[in-house]
């Protein structure tokens, strides 16, 4: 582990998430709920649904491998990934809040995994227990390395949280086995998993080990992807199958239809795409390969300029859990998987550390307050897999799912959120996100204590305290949100004409303990309109205030929100409702709604519905489906 890493870009480094404390702010209740409710109940679900039993390598295998969970859901071949992501989320909470009982649960799982690991290092519970003869025969369909990647991310997080090396070493042995099996060297397979993930995990492992083989393997998987001849064709033929007999028709489903640097349109399975692009950004940062960053840059613009819901949701279609054609953004049938929005935060965050550009961070913030956060209930134990933008009342959160990938994904994001707030270079401090917290960064040798006093996102006034333990000159880079048209900054009470470049304002000076930056982001209610190529939003308007997208829920209004018509110029009031699901700013105003008057039993008639005046109330989209069932609408009819 002493070989030098390849040269890396001069990227920003996230601070330790465990140093960030959200007490008193928006994220406090979310992060506390994840720690106190989400993490324990997810373990409970893994137990109830038989995942833990299946993992028990002390018991004889076959009879205990239950493809059907007690809830009637079937266990899938990538169930190791759920352990991996759960351990990762749990580890993030452990780092700031030691919890021996939780460590015991993790250790028990680790011991089972270690027990199952084969002599050659191979580790994938499904294949070891159920289909040992099939290992490495079908990277196209079976998520083998995806599962191992999530275990590896879990192992790294657990090591970083506790210093315990057991799981890490188990997974390093598993990686050694992968290195023995895959690569460009003669005799090795030139394969790569169709569900990207191992790449991200290997980069994280490399961050711990500094072993160049770990970075090289990630680079190999990224670079090999989409090369000809197609690995999955060859692999199918080795299985005696016709490669054309592929349910998803072509490898764009897995972003393997062409080499990654040639890709310009985001296609296929949305989570896969986000994981790949995150890995490309990681490899770019770690190796200095700007061509990978450039490809990501193009793809980011394609996603955010043509394929992203206003909530930050992505991947409209159920059929491929992903992308279809550009501007295809149906609302009622939106797939917009929670995992995909979570992974967009991963990607955008990585991009911003390579090039400090608000367009990346704006989208991290967008999903955090909307399309990702909507994936978890306010009680922290109910979930959405799909995040629709319109409901007729039949979308309800579930306790567990056939494919329970989303719960642990949103949990690990929230549990590590501190590292998304601040990133550093030796003489720079970048502030990406806003929300009350105290934190601690290290610039070069200097510890800098940080604090934000703010009601953000409910208003745009922030007091940012900057307290280096010794005075230090550095550039403070403050993100100016893309939605903000009027930003003001002062330092210690004196107005500062901050220069804004690519969405970040810079204030460079010698900072001393007691310095306070006051930030004012004007936060009016905005009406957003969609590009006319988006047929589904024609004639419609979405309401947004600051980073928060709003929706109308039937429960607040007493009528299906699809009946509402908002006049173009109508005023919209804001008020803070402390009793609403932990407190939130709601919007309200006057509008009209289509009336039943005179309809009788008719389904169609030649006269339009009468319109009657009505008051409406809108709540943050991320809070929907936490109360009584009913209709929900983001894109309101404007007329």
């Amino acid at each position: 582990m002493s070989a030098p890493a390849k040269p890396s870009l001069d990227r920003y480094t996230p601070i330790d998430h465990a140093k960030v404390d959200f007490s008193g702010g928006f994220w406090e209740s979310w992060s506390e709920t994840v720690r106190k409710v989400t993490v324990p109940t997810q373990h409970q679900r893994l137990d109830e649904e038989g995942f833990l039993e299946v993992l028990n390598f002390h018991l004889p295998p076959a009879p205990l491998v239950r493809p059907i969970q007690p809830s009637g859901l079937s266990m899938q071949h990538f169930f190791d990934s759920d352990f991996g992501k759960w351990i990762e989320a749990a580890s993030y909470t452990l780092k700031a809040h030691p919890n021996p009982a939780l460590e015991e649960k993790i250790d028990a799982i680790v011991e089972q995994l270690a027990k199952g690991q084969l002599a050659d290092g191979y580790l994938n519970s499904w294949f070891i227990r159920r289909e040992p003869d099939k290992r490495w025969t079908n990277l196209r369909d079976l998520h083998e390395m995806y599962s191992m990647g999530h275990l590896l991310e879990g192992a790294v997080a657990y090591f970083e949280a506790t210093g315990k090396r057991r799981f890490l070493e188990v997974m390093i042995r598993a990686v050694d086995h992968i290195i023995d099996t895959f690569g460009s060297e003669p005799g090795k397979l030139r394969g790569y998993d169709a569900h990207e993930e191992i790449e991200i995990a290997l980069i994280k492992l490399h961050g711990v080990t500094n072993d160049p083989r770990h970075l090289d393997l990630a680079s190999f998987f990224v670079n090999e992807r989409g090369q000809q001849p197609a690995y999955y064709d060859e692999e199918a033929r080795r299985r005696g199958k016709d490669p054309k007999d592929y349910i998803f028709k072509d490898y764009s489903y897995s972003q393997a239809h062409m080499p990654v640097r040639e890709q310009t349109q985001v296609v296929g399975h949305a989570v896969r795409a986000m994981y790949l692009f995150s890995a490309m950004a990681d490899v770019a940062a770690a190796t200095g390969d700007l061509s990978l960053f450039a490809a990501c840059d193009t793809l980011f613009d394609n996603l955010t300029g043509r394929q992203l819901y206003v909530t930050g949701g992505l991947g409209p279609a159920h059929a491929n859990e992903g992308f279809t054609r550009e501007y295809d953004l149906p609302n009622v049938t939106a797939y917009a998987e929670t995992c995909a929005a979570v992974a967009l935060a991963f990607w955008g965050h990585r991009m911003a550390q390579i090039e400090l550009d608000g367009r990346f961070t704006d989208h991290v913030e967008l999903v955090l307050f909307n399309g990702a956060l909507s994936g978890i209930s306010r009680d922290g134990e109910h979930y959405f897999y799909e995040n629709v933008l319109e409901s007729h009342g039949d979308n309800r959160r579930w306790k567990w799912h056939y494919c329970p990938c989303c719960p642990t994904n949103i949990a690990r994001l929230i549990a590590s959120l501190g590292s998304y707030f601040y990133t550093t270079k030796p003489d720079e401090l970048a502030v990406h996100l806003y929300g009350a917290n105290t934190g601690e960064a290290v610039l070069g040798e200097t510890v800098v204590r940080l604090s934000q006093e703010t009601r953000y996102p409910w208003d745009g006034d922030i007091r940012l305290g900057i307290a280096p333990v010794t005075p230090k000159r550095f550039a403070l880079r403050l993100r100016v949100p893309g939605w903000c048209r009027d930003a003001k900054f002062s330092v210690n009470g004196a107005f500062v004409p901050a220069e804004i470049h690519k969405g970040y304002a810079t204030i460079e000076r010698e900072w001393r303990a007691g310095d306070e930056v006051r930030i004012g982001f004007a936060m009016p209610v905005e009406r957003l309109y969609a590009n006319p190529e988006v047929s589904e939003d024609a004639g419609r308007v979405a309401l947004k205030r600051g980073p928060v997208v709003y929706c109308l829920e039937e429960v607040d209004n007493g009528f299906a929100p699809q009946r509402l018509r908002l006049a173009p110029g109508a005023g919209i009031e804001t008020s803070y409702d402390p009793g609403l699901l932990g407190g939130a700013v709601t919007l309200s105003g006057s509008a009209v709604k289509a009336s039943d008057a005179g309809w009788g039993g008719a389904l169609y008639r030649t006269a339009p519905s009468a319109l009657e005046p009505v008051r409406f109330k809108a709540i943050p989209y991320h809070l929907w489906a936490n109360r009584a069932p009913g209709g929900m609408l983001v894109w309101l009819l404007e007329a």
Copy 2:
């Protein structure tokens, strides 16, 4: 076959469709295309796709039973039904247009079927060839009697067209076997097919045989449906299965969740529902059981008042090929299977013969000109299974289908359309539909020659010639379409103040050869609005003229029609375009469309799209998707 039938309602009797000639009118090209193109090419598809080969009982069975058709589509266990419906459609064309070559093709199929028939009369090619041990074990899922029912309908039609008894006798033997197997008598199974169809066929058979057992069996199936204990529960247990392990959860999928007379909401698979209700109407008419008619009446109102697309399409959801909740009428994802619209014509037609009420016939006309006719291309050999009301350009007609039920269904409807135009009692002639034709009815003993000279549906002026061979007094019942607000009638040039009752005007007099009734139905363009419970159509308007629903297609307009906004009061012009797909009245007018101006690469922005003036052209919905691919829209944004 000499036992007396039970007493029947005093219903109207359809005239012989073969006596109606549509030369010179709207239906000429459609019926001629069905006869000259659709029927022959459907036989060709059955050949190409291996259906004929599988049917060949002279060949050894197993190896030739190809579950995968050459096109890559899999053959389904109900493929006999495709033969049955094709023979039925072909027979209808044969009756007025003898065609020995076509008869030869039918006879060849009949001989194969006869060859396969088992000694006990059982006849179902799939089960005989592939799963002989499974017969009568799973009426819930396997369409066994559905297939036999379609063969039986084909046999009756072929007998009526040609007088040949061979197929009829084969099927009577099959029915004898069913009678031996199912019924309320001890030792018989109290089962009924989950896909209704045999009931309709048995009534048709009864019309030929007058054998009360045939009517009784139909009645048994109708009456037994939904009784407790549930037959499908018992049947599942006999197979060693848990009845709860049912993909569609409950038997409402097959309208078997409660006895049919108790049903008040149309639920489940749409085609099944329409076939059941048609059978209920048939049994009501044949037995005089008004309770069945009353149940149908309620269900008809439920369907047309809460669950019907403006095109007459029905069954919005793909998942169950059927109904969901009331007012759920999504446009882009509309399932609205062609077969279901065709079968609504069957049902509505039957209802109107029991009670002459325009609300039944209005819906027959609605589907004929819209949601059923849209299922077949202008060239007569391409089809829609799903009939969406909005497309982004990705809905294309297909040449053949995994489940090729729709092509033969629309073919048999068009090929027998004459019988929907005129029905009779001994002293009444009911005219249900309009369109140029010559026909012949028999009232009592009197032959009445009929003719309609009209451009209908392109205008509402009709010259109806009534020529009894000898003068005869009878009541002429003329349907006044529900969409018509101004109907005028004159007889031999003299205005007649016709009394209108339930949508039918009556003119009773002694009719003589040379009499002419002139009918004037005002036919302005109408704007239709949907009940505000239909969220998907909020703020939208549909254009309809007479019975014809219009849509905008991108190919006519040069832009995606979703961009259009039609002002509430804007004038709409009509013109006849002889060059459009055989000639049609099109609509045009001025409107605005959302402009790309100023959007740059943005997906969302705070300013709405600029609106630019534009001319638009709308075509009849049934003609869409016959030219270049592109967007299509029925429900236009009105603003």
